[in-house]
């Protein structure tokens, strides 16, 4: 089958990833993550000074600012801020930096659908770039149920989102990743997935929801692998620069 963006042939195919780290020289950490033509840049400053009224005695205070592609931030961006902050709270080892603040700024650079998932991935790359201690990394992916074919399409573009009966964004951590081994490839058994963040809107059945979760869980393994490779390559390059 041919997807609307004509570069993909399968319903369960993600758009090509792209990422870049350490782009901003005034931030402690920064990263850009792309899902095809959707691009989000994230900067992290911290652990740093925090206002007295926001100070927590035993933990670092996370602050997230989401800036849209165009215009002033609205309630949609405020909802995204809450989503990103609440999802990162259990992952960041904030007990190691009490009475400090970690400020995360997320800027949409290009919008072709699945912006929240792109933002989550850019944020975790930026946190890794800044060296903030984390319990695990996360990976996010969006899927839709097409209104005409009732098929589950992964990583939709803006055009595909317009034809969606329901839209689902899932975020998974990498604590329960499937390790690819010859035995696993033969058995396509349902894995017990554990969701870190889930947001679904539209009209859908319970079966569709859990099926979307399974499909997104498998796809997120690719995102985790990509993040690992991206950080590895960056460290190798830094090592080369030190020794050259």
């Amino acid at each position: 089958m041919s997807r609307l963006d004509r570069t993909r042939t399968s319903a369960h195919q993600l758009r090509p990833f792209f990422s870049s780290q350490n782009l901003l020289n005034r931030a402690d950490g920064s990263a850009q993550f792309d899902f095809g033509e959707s691009s989000v840049m994230c900067s992290v400053i911290g652990p740093a000074e925090v206002k007295l009224r926001d100070e927590k005695l035993d933990k670092a205070t996370l602050e997230v600012v989401v800036r849209p592609l165009v215009g002033l931030p609205g309630i949609k961006d405020k909802a995204r801020e809450q989503a990103i902050r609440e999802t990162l709270e259990p992952l960041v080892l904030s007990g190691l930096h009490p009475r400090t603040g970690i400020q995360i700024v997320v800027q949409t650079m290009k919008d072709d659908g699945s912006i929240l998932a792109t933002a989550f991935n850019a944020t975790i790359l930026a946190l890794l770039d800044a060296g903030i201690p984390l319990k695990s990394i996360l990976g996010a992916v969006t899927c839709i149920v097409d209104s005409e074919t009732n098929q589950i399409l992964l990583d939709p573009t803006t055009q595909e989102l317009a034809n969606a009966k329901s839209t689902h964004t899932f975020v998974f951590d990498n604590k329960s990743s499937i390790t690819s081994s010859p035995e696993n490839k033969d058995q396509e058994e349902a894995v017990e997935v554990a969701t870190l963040y889930s947001d679904s809107t539209g009209l859908f059945s319970e079966e569709e929801y859990f099926e979307c979760a399974q499909i997104c869980y498998k796809a997120v393994q690719a995102v985790h692998g990509f993040i690992r490779t991206a950080v590895q390559k960056k460290l190798e390059k830094e090592q080369q620069q030190i020794h050259s």
């Binding site: 309630i75 801020e81 017990e192 009209l203």
Partner: protein
């Protein structure tokens, strides 16, 4: 064994170690207010509480009270949808309902709840917006849906969504009369079936919210304000009358298993059915 140097009254212990105090109850399967972990608070719904609004309702879930009023106004349609009216939902959390809200622009929580409700109303196609068209490209009905919280005791999402759906159910809008390019809406005599129309709702989504507490990821149904403060995460599930899901959100706290989500969906089905019975009775 030596007696401990300090002994606390329960209320002092609660102030010093709120999470530990709570844990003593949840390990026994109850909560400090006496509810079981999966019990929802008593709920009441009153329709038509604001006579000057086109539609209104008041919902009480335990100590949380939300009053919703719907006002219909004539406006120009949006450029990309010239034959559709639109809804403008807004949830207000002011210092009036709780001391944890400061005066000033809407807090992040109020904006996030407003956006969540806006998405449920829009994406589950509650209303056919073409029904709100008066004259294509020139005039449409815009419905300002204001849900004001007058008492906050946790779980604003369920209360606000229920109040908004109950208010939309009893909206009555005067039929406009056309006079040479201007639209007149009479305000005079009482609204009857002849001079006014009601909204045709395609579905009535209602929700059930659960808090996720502690490292054991204990699920608490319908959290009150103390439970919300000590909980790490929240799960909200919205269903319509046919049992179709209209929205699922899981935010905060560590990863939740699918079986926990499945239990929440089952509990939400029972709860929304109970809510519908309450709404239809009164």
């Amino acid at each position: 064994m030596a007696t401990p140097a300090f002994t606390f009254t329960p209320s002092t212990f609660q102030k010093l170690h709120p999470a530990e105090f709570f844990r003593r109850f949840t390990t026994e399967g109850v909560r400090p207010d006496g509810r079981l972990l999966d019990a929802f608070r008593p709920t009441t719904v009153h329709h038509g509480v604001i006579s000057t609004a086109n539609g209104s309702a008041m919902v009480r879930i335990g100590g949380t009270t939300v009053v919703c009023g719907v006002k219909a106004e004539v406006a120009e349609p949006k450029l990309d949808a010239p034959d559709q009216g639109y809804l403008v939902p807004n949830v207000e959390l002011s210092p009036m309902c709780s001391s944890k809200f400061r005066p000033g622009p809407p807090s992040e929580q109020a904006q996030a709840v407003s956006e969540a409700i806006n998405r449920v109303l829009k994406e589950s196609k509650v209303l056919d917006l073409k029904d709100l068209c008066i004259e294509e490209g020139k005039a449409v009905w815009v419905l300002y849906v204001d849900a004001v919280c007058v008492a906050y005791d946790g779980n604003i999402f369920d209360a606000a969504l229920a109040a908004i759906m109950a208010a939309l159910n009893n909206v009555r809008i005067r039929k406009p009369t056309y006079q040479e390019g201007t639209i007149k809406v009479s305000g005079g005599s009482t609204a009857t079936d002849e001079n006014s129309f009601t909204l045709k709702l395609a579905r009535t989504p209602l929700s059930a919210t659960f808090a996720i507490f502690d490292t054991t990821l204990t699920i608490l149904a319908d959290p009150n304000v103390t439970e919300e403060t000590i909980s790490d995460g929240q799960i909200s599930i919205a269903l319509d009358e046919t049992g179709q899901l209209c929205g699922v959100t899981k935010i905060g706290a560590a990863s939740c298993s699918q079986s926990a989500m499945k239990d929440c969906v089952q509990s939400a089905k029972k709860r929304t059915q109970q809510l519908r019975n309450i709404m239809n009775q009164q």
